[in-house]
Symmetry: C2
Subunit: 201 residues, 2 copies
Amino acid sequence: MAGPIDFYFEFASPYGYLASTQIDRIAERFGREVRWHPVMLGAAFKQTGMRPLAQIPLKGPYMMHDLPRFARLLGVPLEAPPVLPDNSLHASRAMVWIDETMGPDAAKRLARAILHAHWAAGREIGRPELVADIAAGQGIDREELIAAVAEPAIKERLKERTQASIERGVFGSPFVIVDDEPFWGADRLPQVVTWLERGGW
Amino acid sequence: MAGPIDFYFEFASPYGYLASTQIDRIAERFGREVRWHPVMLGAAFKQTGMRPLAQIPLKGPYMMHDLPRFARLLGVPLEAPPVLPDNSLHASRAMVWIDETMGPDAAKRLARAILHAHWAAGREIGRPELVADIAAGQGIDREELIAAVAEPAIKERLKERTQASIERGVFGSPFVIVDDEPFWGADRLPQVVTWLERGGW
């Protein structure tokens, strides 16, 4: 079996959410695993000068039109949260914590639950309590999560993982790396499929 | 027959070139015309804070890897010019001049010739003489072109047309508007095809 696909996403990125609903299904068709990596895009933005799309003239309005259109095409629910972008720090730390204590499958389930709550149900994720409410639905203890996302070791791990993603060239969300080939953007998933079908081109 | 497709592109944009090799073939399949509009992206960049990709850390290196890969996928030639981005002002003015004196078909042929020279043969376009050399291959008089791109009326028309594109929401290259639906990016052409196939979704 060929190597795993790396899927980098930012919880505050709606295109990351859209891609998250597709990537495992795509990978399964080709017998590949997907490793999910939460990233804090702000760190990459410092290098690229990029800003959250919603705040940008012309691009922001385009995104607000494009997102529901893209979601309809994929057939996935979309209900944007009230404030864009929300603070994704606690969600990302929670995922790192679960990854390191319960493993990647549990972390992926938590990430899916958070992305769905945030982008398909419009729920906010900007405070530890809000992330804990969502995680509770996955059988994760609220108080343990709230303590974990304040732990220096977890904060440091997320920083390290974000830095490692930047060193691999990740600057946006979603960002897929398959066979060392980088693909940026939900709109590149068709190219990822073609890459997997042909084993490159 | 359904209305025409508007194709906005910047001569200095490699993704605009890639899309330019596809858009008319796509439109033909659905019996649509394509209107080509050169835009000076710098004007929109002032509003969005975007910069030419080649100059941006992380994004620039991604683009330099992605471009040849994308061109191979499309089966089109790509040889980037020595300096990115080149100055597209004279090419854009020349296209506007031909559009207004010889009509849109001649303007489209000239645009294709310039894009091909710049992106498939690596030729520079930053001075009127260089654009005139390319246009000469289309039977366009060199001296007339060099005079035309210095005319205040032509300069003004390009400004007006760029401003009109911004008012329609155009902020990047390529940018396709079909049935009033905006699609940004060469990687959105598959969605344009789907839109045309289904008559929307």
